[in-house]
Symmetry: C2
Subunit: 526 residues, 2 copies
């Protein structure tokens, strides 16, 4: 596979007519060949029009074709071999083992959605029997099934160049829903994006699907993403990135003549509650696990644990000592881009300079220009409550330990927090009563609640929720990881008294697709 | 039951401190006693704070309590007896039989949601088994369940003073979801609203639920609704009404520091396709049924059939003759408010004065000041395509028959239409091939597709979709009628490795609530 520097629009490579740009080596900032031509309005128009033209044909193919597409993409990514890992290492600074793991996750995610498509539960097929004898008027036959919203614009994340990028969860779930996808490649890993995009393009061609099912546009300016979100053919947006970026796309989507849903996963500090009994019995172990989680992947996870909450006292002080020791042994690690590194440095400096904030520890220093040195700070609850900037995410391996006077103050801090992707309880049996009282708050604040783990691992399963109240995401009703991610790109259609031949196969008499369906209110295989 | 004119806030009657206003007799515009005090900022603050304070306690009660609440409200409405119907007749001009039918619908709807709550399918309980042996790392135990979003603001509709108002579908589905509700009473039927609100208030008290579970605020100015949507305690909005009103609330909700979902059901013209074979064989019957549907309830239905599409020719002309005859025999009927009547008159005059629009028929004339006389117009497809105003809803018994040159032009008109609540096919066996080709367009355009019926009947069942693409609603992913309406007010929460005691009962081992749950991807009662 060569990387051409052209956008992939339908079956073609189309050189963008905007200014060229290069991928950048994360470790030293040098440019990587080739140059990528920025896609402009004409390329957006072409990709979106093809997507619109292909939508009906794609969604009306047998569901099996979608499953085969997802599996074909997975195999195509594996077939790229080491070249994909090597390019991703250069562009992101992430180590090979991490990227190989992420590739496995990406492939498993595509295959999960193939299974989801085949199972058909996403159709939410619902059949209400006619009641011809009902008085005063007969009840008609009513059947409901879900269909795709339409073409989806996907904005990948810089921190997962495979699993949350061109063939990541947004793309996989949108294709599973029967929606064509137009991806704006993240400019931090354009070569990686081009390789994966090529694999998707080939899978679409191999299955003879409408070419508009997938396009990949390169560009570094905001204008490209804005044009994409504004295009009338686009019916929904998936985004993973900064709060500023997500809110900008959300505002654009709402200003359209026809507003569209935006699923933006934006920012979180993922509070970890160090409950008293656990802190007493396992402070050292928790501290070590916490520091491992904090520094994993240079702290560049949406679910990075950025805030620890405990009750002030000797146990919390011991925890801080353990954490300080553990952190001091952690090497600095190259960040994804020079820009992300600069923002991390500024965030750490801002915390360090804030009134009432005490620096507990730094990780090992480094001479590498774009490597992050971890940082741990201590503050009182009152300091945190008084300074909203301290509750803002610093993307990277930085965290605050917040000491609360008592349980009431702990609750006050929790109520004060914005929406989060996760909330974690470190607890022993003796903490259950306290935890039970906190659960209602945590449920209101977070999409996922963990016990005695750290939030950086996000399983790709049926029950996963990678989402949460604003500003963790722009839409708390959804998840961007796991099988339920497909629901973001679906809408229900009801069919009243339609002849069998005009019904979607999934809703016909005799259950020809052998799916679970709700029949008069009860799940059924009939 | 007396009507006090006070807002109902929690357990209390609170006199609003804003300017007083009166209910108005629909048939003659006279004021009805008593005066209602407009709720102001202080009353909004009180109602919303109580709702927020009651949210956790309400949603954590056994689901059975929600079901009992819904059933208690249903019984309370029945217990109001003829006084409710009499007041509603005065305020809306709707006849007794229609209001009695609507009361039955409202009661059945509340009882359906009681059944929905008990069934528990709304929890979407999803359990993924732990895999302790998985390499390289064990997989945790993951369980997902849905919880309420938080307090919901409900704006009722003028055209269904019971079924889409204080105890209508929005309120019933929000309470079923475990969300407290703050209703802004529609100023077109304040007395009806007060009676129903009193029944809800008593049901809340009788069950010993937190008083903030329900409040009802009276007011005639936009400022009241705006303050409600802006209040930080409000987590979602349900609205049925005009496009302008819905879009205004949507904009407000998006401008909040924490944006919230708005489910606004706004406008539709509900196209009816008169396919050739059906038109030839059953033109007269279809014309009679169409006119009955058009004039039902003075045409004041969101699903009123406002646009008929056929292929030009002798059959369509005969249909127009039949429809003209049928319409000429229809009496004028009092509209809901003088304002709605004035808007209807203007809409009809605007159509009549439009270039290329031909008046086919009017219903019987009247001397009643606020009664609508039905109107049927004919236009060519090209005229419709050239004049966007002709595709705008005229609320009331007015419709356009559009003659298309051929099937291609019929498709062009369909593609041109905005999102709709419904699309209807009048078809015979000979039309199936044509219909099959149109289905993909109809699925993209409408929330419900009917065959050989008219859209004014909206069943309250599991499979119903009363929704559709913008601007029919602000959120095509949802329905405001039927069991699935509960999903609008829910969000998923994932629990990772939590001790049994901290899990919601619905997600515990042994399935203590005996609900259908997804276990490792498959529906199960275990």
């Amino acid at each position: 596979m060569t990387i051409s520097g052209a956008s992939l629009i339908g079956q073609n490579r189309v050189q963008g007519d905007g200014p060229p740009f290069h991928g950048i080596r994360a470790d030293n900032g040098e440019s990587l060949a080739p140059a990528f031509g920025s896609a402009g309005e004409a390329q957006v128009e072409l990709a979106c029009t093809l997507a619109q033209q292909g939508f009906d044909a794609f969604r009306q193919r047998p569901y099996e074709h979608r499953a085969l597409l997802l599996e074909g993409i997975a195999q195509g990514i594996l077939d790229l071999g080491p070249a994909l890992i090597e390019r991703a290492m250069l562009e992101t600074g992430l180590p090979a083992a991490r990227l190989e793991g992420e590739r496995a996750r990406t492939v498993a995610q595509l295959r999960l959605f193939a299974r989801v498509v085949r199972d058909g539960n996403w159709v939410a097929a619902t059949l209400d029997s006619a009641q011809p004898q009902r008085a005063p008027a007969p009840r008609p036959d009513l059947r409901m099934g879900k269909i795709g919203l339409g073409p989806v614009a996907v904005f990948g994340a810089s921190n997962f160049p495979l699993a949350f990028s061109v063939a990541g969860g947004d793309t996989a779930s949108a294709l599973a829903a029967g929606c064509p996808v137009v991806v704006k490649a993240h400019p931090a890993h354009p070569g990686t994006a081009a390789l994966v995009g090529g694999a998707i393009q080939r899978a679409v061609t191999d299955l003879g699907l409408p070419e508009g099912v997938f396009s990949l546009l390169f560009g570094r300016d905001l204008a490209l993403g804005e044009a994409l979100v504004r295009h009338p053919a686009i019916a929904a947006v998936g985004f993973t990135g900064s709060r500023r970026g997500g809110l900008a796309l959300l505002a654009l989507a709402q200003q359209r003549p026809q507003p569209i849903p935006v699923y933006a996963e934006m920012s979180a500090i993922n509070p970890v509650l160090l409950l008293p009994a656990a802190l007493r019995s396992r402070g050292e172990t928790i501290a070590q696990s916490f520091v491992d989680s904090l520094t994993l992947g240079a702290g560049q996870f949406c679910t990075n644990p950025g805030l620890l909450l405990g009750i002030a006292g000797a146990d919390l002080e011991r925890f801080q000592t353990y954490a300080t020791q553990a952190l001091a042994g952690k090497d600095a690690a190259t960040m994804l881009t020079p820009g992300i590194h600069a923002a991390y440095q500024q965030g750490v400096e801002r915390h360090a300079a804030s009134t009432g904030v005490r620096l507990l520890a730094r990780g090992r220093g480094t001479t590498q220009p774009f490597a992050a040195c971890a940082a741990l700070f201590a503050v009182s609850a009152q300091t945190l409550l008084a300074n909203p900037a301290l509750s803002e995410e610093v993307f990277g391996p930085a965290a605050l330990v917040v000491s609360c006077r008592d349980e009431a103050e702990l609750r006050e801090v929790l109520e004060h927090l914005e929406g989060q992707l996760t909330a974690t309880l470190q607890l022993d049996a003796g903490d259950h009563e306290l935890a039970a009282g906190l659960m209602p708050i945590l449920e209101r604040k977070a999409g996922r609640i963990l016990a005695n783990a750290f939030p950086t691992g996000v399983e790709v399963t049926y029950a996963m929720v990678h989402g949460g109240p604003f500003p963790a995401t722009s839409d708390a009703r959804s998840t961007s990881v796991g099988a339920a991610a497909i629901e973001r790109f679906l809408r229900p259609v009801c069919y009243q008294d339609l002849p069998q031949a005009l019904l979607p196969e999934a809703l016909r008499d005799g259950n020809p697709l052998a799916m679970w369906r709700m029949r008069d209110g009860t799940p059924s295989l009939d």
